[in-house]
């Protein structure tokens, strides 16, 4: 592996390089602390460094400090090399962030096994980083897959109703069928009133609960064959096929009654209120679901405005 040696004494330096080269390592040599730090801060820095404690410029301990305080993606394994064989000095060096130390005059065999130990740690860290990279890649891949699945899904995760995609897919299909059978359908566009206020005052959890309650009311108000969907946020839509005009009124009335029953019965943290726009679709004419939705949307806004005016008149 690539090893940096920072040593100002040429004899020690020569002994080190000769031995390490003989063991197959690639050696980078500096003879002062400043050059050593620079070499260790490069992108292709050696992952193991043997630093003399005392040398011109930064000392080995100072280099340890500097390297440990800077956040490194890959920590460098540092062996302090020193003739200081007093114990407190060694403690200082290890506390500064050195991984190991060797005292001079060093024993060639000890040097070999300590460098081997260091190389083992570096290899382990390398494997670990590689593994983390692989896991991160797997997570990203999985997130993509989930996103893709979600985009293919037809149902709304929170309410179990159809989602935007599910609604339009089924509505188009239903439109074609009802055109053949020359029947009429009811299209409802419903928007929750005051969801933002619920979120702001009672929190997002209460907001979610309210959305789910609305979904339940809608589901119970319509027939199994009707398409009930949450288009997103606080917007819902229903397409009920084979409905004649009097039935339309009844269906909407039932919805209103069920909402009222919900609000009057039980202990709910907030009242539910819907602005509803309804259009009857006559399939004798060319049916474009988008156009009809726009109409229902406009109706819904009219309803919302009226309800607001009513509310302000009352207060």
């Amino acid at each position: 592996m690539k090893i940096l040696i920072a040593e100002d004494d040429p004899v020690s330096c020569r002994v080190l390089t000769t031995n390490l080269k003989a063991w197959g390592h690639e050696i980078v040599v500096t003879n002062n602390g400043n050059d050593a730090l620079q070499a260790l801060q490069r992108d292709d820095a050696p992952m193991l460094a043997i630093l003399d404690w005392m040398m011109p410029g930064l000392t080995g301990v100072e280099i340890c400090h500097r390297l440990k305080t800077e956040s490194h993606a890959a920590p460098i394994y540092i062996i302090l090399l020193t003739a200081l064989n007093r114990k407190e000095n060694l403690l200082e060096g290890l506390e500064a962030g050195a991984d190991d130390y060797l005292t001079k005059p060093f024993d060639r065999h000890e040097l070999r096994v300590r460098v081997q130990a260091g190389a083992r740690i570096v290899a382990l860290q390398d494997n670990l980083r590689q593994r983390v990279r692989e896991l991160e890649a797997a997570i990203v891949e999985r997130q993509h897959a989930e996103e893709q699945l979600r985009s293919l899904s037809l149902t709304d995760h929170m309410t179990g109703l159809y989602n935007h995609r599910g609604f339009y897919n089924l509505a188009e299909h239903l439109a074609k069928m009802t055109r053949r059978s020359r029947t009429k359908s009811l299209l409802i566009y419903a928007d929750m009133d005051g969801l933002k206020q619920i979120n702001d005052t009672l929190g997002h959890h209460a907001g979610s609960e309210a959305i789910m309650a609305v979904a339940e009311v809608l589901r119970s108000s319509f027939r199994d064959c009707d398409i009930v969907a949450r288009l997103g946020g606080d917007e819902f839509a229903v397409l009920a096929p084979n409905v004649a005009l009097p039935d339309s009124r009844k269906l909407i009335e039932r919805l209103r009654n069920n909402l009222k029953a919900y609000n009057e019965g039980g202990d709910h943290p907030c009242q539910l209120s819907l602005s509803i726009g309804a259009v009857e679709i006559d399939h004798n004419y060319e049916f474009g679901i988008e156009d009809q939705m726009a109409k229902a949307d406009a109706e819904m806004y009219r309803d919302k405005r009226q309800r607001k005016e009513l509310l302000t008149q009352r207060t």
Partner: protein, 139 residues
């Protein structure tokens, strides 16, 4: 490593700071570097001897400059470096004197100068031994 097998009697030492006396050059330590000798390469121990003989006078200068310029840290650092290379090569007496110089706590200039002189005296002896070893190896 044996530090005490030969006790050297150097009575002419003039300085008042006393340090233990050990063998000037432990040739066994020096010879241990033969283990790192590569096939077909020049004699490794001779290379180390040359490096040392080359480096020591430079260090004496650095210590001298440090002492005269009142730059104790530089003198201390140079002594430290000399201690390292001396001990590495088994040049033990030099190592002991350098160690003492490095760890002077007071009286840097006077005691330092005396110890530097000791180092120089010792070096004459060491040089002789190392050159003889060098010659033996090359012949």
């Amino acid at each position: 490593m044996s530090l005490t097998n030969t006790v050297d009697q150097n009575e002419s030492t003039p300085f008042h700071v006393t340090h233990e006396t050990v063998v000037a050059v432990d040739l066994a330590i020096l010879a241990s570097y033969d283990e790192a000798q590569e096939e077909g390469e020049p004699d490794f121990v001779v290379e180390l001897i040359d490096l040392y003989l080359d480096e020591a006078p430079r260090i004496f200068n650095a210590i001298h400059e440090g002492l005269t310029n009142n730059d104790w840290l530089s003198a201390k650092r140079a002594a430290h470096s000399l201690r390292g290379s001396s001990n590495n090569l088994g040049i033990l007496q030099m190592g002991v004197i350098a160690d003492e110089l490095e760890h002077l706590t007071t009286n840097h200039q006077v005691a330092g100068a005396e110890l530097l002189q000791c180092l120089k005296n010792e070096f004459t002896r060491v040089e002789e031994i190392l050159l003889a070893e060098r010659l033996r190896r090359l012949s």
